[in-house]
Symmetry: C2
Subunit: 217 residues, 2 copies
Amino acid sequence: MFSLTEENYLKAIYHLSEGGSKAVLTNALAEAMSTKAASVTDMIKKLSTKEVITYEKYYGVNITSKGKSEALMIIRKHRLWETFLVDKLGFSWDEVHEVAEQLEHINSPRLIEKLDEFLGYPKVDPHGDPIPDNKGKIKVQPLIPVDQLQVGFQGKIAAVKDSDSNLLKYLDKIGARPGTKIKILGKEEYDESMEILIEDHRVFISKVVSQNILVVG
Amino acid sequence: MFSLTEENYLKAIYHLSEGGSKAVLTNALAEAMSTKAASVTDMIKKLSTKEVITYEKYYGVNITSKGKSEALMIIRKHRLWETFLVDKLGFSWDEVHEVAEQLEHINSPRLIEKLDEFLGYPKVDPHGDPIPDNKGKIKVQPLIPVDQLQVGFQGKIAAVKDSDSNLLKYLDKIGARPGTKIKILGKEEYDESMEILIEDHRVFISKVVSQNILVVG
DNA sequence: TTTTTTTTTTAGACTAATCTAAAAATATAC
DNA sequence: GTATATTTTTAGATTAGTCTAAAAAAAAAA
């Protein structure tokens, strides 16, 4: 149905149109795909004939509902495989992304259903990101980054941003995993660093780090 | 290192050169790859510059030791994934081939080591085929097809040929799985069908079926 | 041994995905 | 509101893998 490349474009378009209600621009997509604008133009023409996006020249692309459910199925596969790698094979969460990027393109609906069952129908992946169900339904919780919390806040870590492997290594070291308790002890005006309690462990984190830890809003 | 297509050619060349010590001919490879001889000629030129095969015009190809270990790694992955699908996800053995054909191309040495460990370092896959170890070593047992056995023979099924999904379904139905006991009760001269005992169950099998069940020689 | 058949290779063309360079459209600045 | 800068698209080329049709080599038959 869709080539590996088409699937990757679709996923990128989906992620870029998350949140923002605007059309995705050619250059933004080129950046996300580490390719050139000319290549993007070619591909979005192809994808729009397949009706997963709508495309107006010079104005960017919008994902259709067909495209959205296609993208969500790829994301479902990605997150189920990440869960498998961590929960069953003992990978650490900073190692799983690249492998899941490959595994998400395996085409077998039966495999994914069986895998989901084997994992006990997990709701979130190891980074706290929600796993779409087999109908493509995803539970979007409004999440707040820790840097926006008030001193005194108490709650649980819901998710962490999984963009950077080194960040994940660090978060793992200080114990900042989804599900662990967190309390804001103090905030330094000067550099916006924070003192927080993770489970029962006091740590100081910089602003960048605090922006990448998320709690339920 | 190797493209998906290159890996599939390499695997086919490996299998075609198993047993026979002769060079693999262009047409045989074209047949195995469901492609045309002209395409094969192009690809074997490419593979020989990569030094996984040697190629002499009009005389066919021979796999090099580099090519052999490359092929064995793909086979290792294929058979470990098949074992995973059957043992962990509850697939039946006639359903796993196509999915494993995809999974065998996932490139992550760490994943395969972890998977091997998770499965308890299995020696054979669900069809009884040996799984190469992480050094590419494979235990080749001389196997004899049941149609060549004498009446009165007793032993265990070591493997079954996994080429055809319908055959596998049938073998599963009569209980002919690797590890089960087998005894030859009789042989019909006319059509070479056989009466055999599987575990403690009497069944009649045709010649074709008897050629696809293997015991240790 | 010469002829015929079969197999294999070459030549040239096609598709998917990419690129560079140039042209066209849109956005920004003065 | 015209000029400049930026973004996007088009044009044409490239690589991997495939194809058909024709040429060349090897094998089989007469």
